[in-house]
């Protein structure tokens, strides 16, 4: 798989000076930085890993030696409304029957953490932070038809489908400390990653307690001829349609010219 090698680097210099001014003790800070704010993916993009570097400063050396600092990094795509449908059988034919629409759902969600989430903190903390594929707030759109039981059922299916499409992923162990302060998080950018503004966030935990988070944003855009065609189809759809007709007429006509015997 040839994939875009997108390695994003931390702006270390500014962080270490800021860290030096902090009082040691209970003042651990976490920072992540990206060397670019825009990634252009081409049409041949088959998915890749995105490496994010970060720094943990003012860490307590004792706690650090015990390995009790944990970091969770996520990359969250733009929010969209999604509809989940279930097929039922009618006269032998499988038909989309019940459906539930969910509002403001991140189109993609990639998580990397130092360990399994349940080893980092109790579930309640992750629920409060809405951190993790199963803790994202899935807001069903009220339609008056669906029972609360089916809302629960569809709410459970949504992350499963997203995980299946590789649009959501959780990778425990993919945040690694490179030194006492520097860490690296490997997130996944799937082939079908949505374009738009993505947000990278880092969460710092100590002894199962959430300390603080930092975030930065990343714009994912598509590049290349294919994307220009896509844009034309959506932004100048009338012109695009007329051109499609024109192209068909010309192709048919050229074929006739090429093969005419007389």
């Amino acid at each position: 798989m040839r994939a875009l090698a997108a390695t994003l680097l931390l702006i270390l210099a500014s962080l270490s000076t800021a860290a030096a001014q902090q009082v040691p003790g209970n003042k651990e800070t976490v920072e992540i930085g990206l060397s670019t704010d825009t990634i252009a993916i081409t049409s041949g993009f088959r998915g890749t890993d995105l490496t994010v570097f970060g720094a943990l400063d003012n860490a307590d050396p004792l706690i650090q030696r015990q390995g009790r600092y944990d970091i969770v990094v996520i990359l969250q795509g733009p929010e969209r409304d999604f509809v989940v449908r279930r097929k039922d059988r009618f006269f032998g034919v499988w038909i989309n029957a019940e459906s539930v629409t969910f509002q403001h759902i991140p189109a993609s969600y990639s998580l990397a953490s130092t360990r399994n989430l349940q080893d980092i903190a109790v579930p309640k903390i992750f629920a409060q932070l809405a951190l993790g594929v199963n803790n994202i707030y899935y807001e069903p759109m009220p339609d008056g038809f669906s029972s609360s039981a089916s809302l629960r059922e569809f709410t459970k299916e949504l992350p499963r489908l997203k995980l299946k499409q590789s649009l959501y992923s959780q990778r425990p162990g993919e945040v690694q400390f490179l030194s006492s302060t520097l860490f690296r998080a490997t997130l996944s950018l799937p082939a079908n990653v949505p374009v738009g503004k993505h947000q990278a966030r880092a969460f710092l935990f100590r002894n199962g307690e959430f300390l603080r988070e930092s975030s930065t944003s990343l714009n994912i855009v598509k590049a290349g001829l294919e994307y220009r065609i896509y844009k034309a189809a959506h932004e100048n759809s009338l012109l695009y349609g007329l051109f499609a007709v024109f192209l068909a007429v010309i192709t048919g006509w050229m074929g006739r010219l090429m093969f005419r015997k007389d």
């Binding site: 041949g44 097929k87 032998g92 065609i229 695009y240 068909a248 006739r256």
Partner: protein
């Protein structure tokens, strides 16, 4: 699916990577068949695209686009030869545009309801099995007749039917008929509707309907049908592009260029090898495609649940 990345091309609207040669070959094969049998081929292209994992909405819209290329040259040569009834064709176009407009509206509605894929498949199963079945029956019958030493007679004597009792009659000089415009507009509308929902030209329905219902002489039937198909599929393409953004120009171009080349060879072979056996072969192929689509409707899907971006919900502003 093969991951031959070197031959892969990304379709901007279908949003998947496909193999150039598979699509070109698909266009060529269908073009060959359409040249050989004088059919548009849209009714084979769309299901084949669906089998190749192209989203049905894109397959239908692009199918209509592709049909223009194969019909345009045909219509042009019929026009030059004078085997085209422009007046009759224009009335069919007017009906067709209305039908296609309704079709697009239904298409959007079905897409929002998440039932588009099902309805497209169902329509194809019904049409392919009916047309394939009739063709097979007809070719077997004429094979028997040939064996019995009789001459195959296609045209029935011009008996008047209920169609000729309808009002608003109009005279069509090129076709030498005097007939009500109601069945003409209705036929045009039905074809236009199918064109927008199924991505077909509709010649396979239009030609028999014109012969048996309107009693149009066979020499102007093909030309007039092609004339209507060009305008209605062009209208459908523009409508699909503006309302659903589902016309994939790259996909259409691959299919068209394959189709145009295939059609040339098909026409040559078809002129040499005209026969009931060939027609029986096409009928079997049509039936097989229909059967394949039908099986997919009945087989339990791997995953009962599916997820899609919510389109503008009806009623919500």
């Amino acid at each position: 699916m093969g991951s031959g990345s070197e031959l892969g091309i990304y379709l901007p609207i279908a949003e998947i990577s496909v193999n150039i040669f598979v699509l070109f070959g698909m266009g060529a094969a269908v073009g060959f068949l359409s040249g050989m049998f004088g059919v548009g081929g849209g009714f084979l292209i769309t299901p084949l695209l669906i089998f190749y994992n192209i989203p049905p909405a894109v397959a239908v819209a692009t199918g209509a686009n592709q049909v223009i290329a194969s019909s345009f040259t045909g219509a042009l040569s019929h026009f030059k030869r004078g085997t085209l009834d422009v007046k009759l064709g224009t009335l069919l176009v007017i009906g067709g545009v209305a039908g296609a407009g309704i079709g697009i509206y239904v298409f959007v509605l079905l897409r929002e309801l998440g039932q588009l894929d099902l309805i497209v498949s169902l329509l194809y199963v019904i049409f392919l099995s009916t047309i394939g079945g009739l063709m097979l029956l007809e070719s077997v019958r004429s094979m028997r007749r040939t064996r019995a030493g009789q001459l195959a007679s296609l045209k029935k004597p011009g008996q008047h039917n209920w169609v000729h009792r309808l009002p608003f009659k109009m005279r069509f000089r090129a076709s030498k008929i005097y007939v009500s415009i109601i069945p003409i507009l209705a036929l045009g509308a039905a074809i236009g509707f199918l064109s927008s929902i199924m991505g077909v030209g509709g010649g396979f329905i239009m030609v028999p309907a014109m012969i048996y219902l309107l009693k149009v002489p066979t020499n102007v039937v093909i030309g007039t049908s092609l004339y209507q198909i060009v305008f209605v599929t062009a209208f459908t393409t523009v409508m699909q592009a503006t309302t659903n953004q589902s016309v994939d120009i790259v996909l259409a171009f691959l299919l068209m260029s394959g189709g145009v080349i295939g059609a040339q060879y098909g026409t040559r072979i078809g002129q040499k090898l005209r026969g009931e056996q060939l027609r029986a072969l096409l009928a079997t192929l049509v039936l097989a495609v229909g059967l394949r689509l039908a099986i997919e409707l009945f087989v339990t899907p791997d995953d009962l649940y599916s997820i899609a971006i919510a389109l503008a919900a009806p009623g919500a502003s």
